[in-house]
Amino acid sequence: MAKYQASNFLTTSSATAQLDDELNMAQERIAELEEQIQQFTGESTSITSVQKLVLPISEINRDPKQVRRWFDPEKISSLAQAIRVNGFRGTVWVRYLPDGTPELVAGERRIRAAIEAGLDSIPVDVLDVDEDTAFTLGLLENLQREDLNALEETEGILGLLTRRLHCSQEDVTSLLYQMKNFHAGKSSESDERFSIVESAFGSVGRLTWLSFVTSRLPLLNLPEDVLEVLRQGQLEYTKARAIAKVKNAWQRESILEAAIEENLSLNEIRQRILQLRIGTEDEPEISLKQQFVDNFKRLQKSSAWKDPSKQEQLRKLIEQIQELASPPR
């Protein structure tokens, strides 16, 4: 490492530059979102900001339905550093619940950074939107981001579709499969909602409905314990996916726990999974009974019965089997 580092002298402006980018992106997003939400709902809902306020962070109800739960701690820290240098610039969006509590619509990541930077309160834009629009807005806002993991994205898109089609998640899933069959020519059952689905994917603009059905919906079949950890944002998607490959439930559980508590890297996780495989390779997961039956057959054909040196061993084995086979006293 060079002795003289120019970057050491440019930390403040770097942090400001980063915040600037954040702010630019946020502003562009507002404009885009307005357009998208109109496309999406087909109604001309303009997102009006009715008030600009400074609110204590502790008063803001941060929606537990938030799609995005994994936030890279390093990115939060560098954003927090920018906030320490320049203060919190821009706003997060909230709306008022009927009981008067402000609820966060978008800006979870920046709130976390503000908390880390030691702020008690932040500037907010109060949006005059109903629950449905707020939810759609929050989802759209998140779906536009590049760093949403695949599960978050999948559940987010499903959330959007259930809102748009006014039906349950199961109905949406089966509609999507029906669409896929129709598309593949396996079914002639068409549905007028197909076009709504297509236009919804068009306005999200991340991926096509078809690749969503083929590559994303199967994610929901990951083991429940893995899904849960992902939903709670305790682990990155790539790590969770690696762990999901472990078939044995308790082994998977123990790696999941270790990965979270010891903050294992992806490589370390792979290493541990490999160790598990090596450890169990010679004894595949076959029930004891099956093992007995298999070995019993082999023993019947074995030359051991004729081998004098094995007679004593066989006698002992038969005794043990008799003992195990007799009903408990």
């Binding site: 060079a2 002795k3 003289y4 580092q5 120019a6 970057s7 002298f9 440019l10 930390t11 403040t12 402006s13 770097s14 400001t16 530059a17 600037d20 702010l23 240098v85 320049n86 610039r89």
Partner: protein, 266 residues
């Protein structure tokens, strides 16, 4: 069709060759056929000195005139003896009268836009306007920022000057927003000046500077070397191109001039 460029050569530390760059870039551009106007907002008289012009000006024959509320569009333009080239190199000189100008600005409406408004209301025929202003982040810097389309930031490769540029870049970003500049002036680049490759500290910092700036999406020009001939030329009131036409330091500003030429002729 040419584009009009207003280039602010800005710094937050004195003695980093702001005026030297203005003179030499201006001369080279004029030599290439561009009409150049150096608008001096500085309170010192170095531009007059470097141009070999007399230093006795008042509020009527200096840049102070364009700050007058009843400015009629007659820019107080003077031309150095060597300023008549394929293009031309004109100046509006500043000096101590600018101290009063900056004080008077405090009570003026749209003060930050004083020069921007004048250039809009009374366009100059020049394709390239160079702004030279005091090395501080005061009102005159706001004025220069609001008037410029591009920024060129000379720095000395030293810890002091780098800390200065850090503050300047921070100030730039904050003020582009505060002044609602749309579009905000583009940073053409940072130019290391008075570069002496024999100094270990300068060499070390120079190695890491381009990367550090790239992280902020800022271009870093190759350094302009140190030579006492810049001072000697200034003493004589002529650019180095006239004083020592074959001096290698002249080549160091060429990349900047090439970029400006591209901007002007699109």
């Amino acid at each position: 069709m040419t584009n009009k460029i207003v280039l602010w050569i800005g710094a937050n530390a004195g003695g980093v060759s702001k005026t030297t760059l203005a003179i030499h870039i201006g001369y080279e551009m004029a030599r290439r056929g561009v009409k150049v106007l150096a608008l001096d907002l500085d309170t010192n008289v170095s531009l007059a000195q470097f141009c070999g012009l007399p230093k006795d000006f008042n509020e009527n024959n200096s840049t102070a005139a364009i700050f007058s509320e009843d400015f009629d569009g007659h820019y107080p333009i003077v031309t150095p003896e060597w300023g008549d080239l394929k293009g031309r190199f004109d100046v509006c000189l500043g000096g101590t009268v600018m101290v009063q100008v900056s004080l008077d600005l405090a009570t003026r409406s749209r003060r930050e836009y004083a020069v921007a408004d004048v250039l809009t209301d009374h366009p100059v025929p020049h394709e390239l306007v160079l702004l030279d202003c005091p090395a501080s982040l005061g009102t005159l810097s706001d004025v220069a920022l609001a008037a410029s389309t591009h920024l060129l930031l000379p720095i000395e490769v030293s810890s002091k000057s780098l800390s200065g540029i850090d503050a300047l870049l921070t100030w730039y970003r904050v003020n582009c927003r505060r002044l609602r500049l749309k579009p905000a002036p583009t940073i053409l680049g940072v130019v290391p000046t008075q570069y002496n490759k024999d100094e270990a500290q300068q060499r070390g910092l120079m190695e890491t500077l381009p990367d550090a700036l790239t992280q902020q999406s800022i271009n870093c020009y190759a350094p302009v070397r140190y030579t006492p001939e810049f001072k000697n030329a200034a003493m004589l009131g002529v650019p180095l191109q006239i004083h020592r036409p074959r001096h290698r330091a002249i080549q160091d500003i060429e990349p900047i001039c090439n970029d400006l030429e591209n901007l002007i002729y699109g």
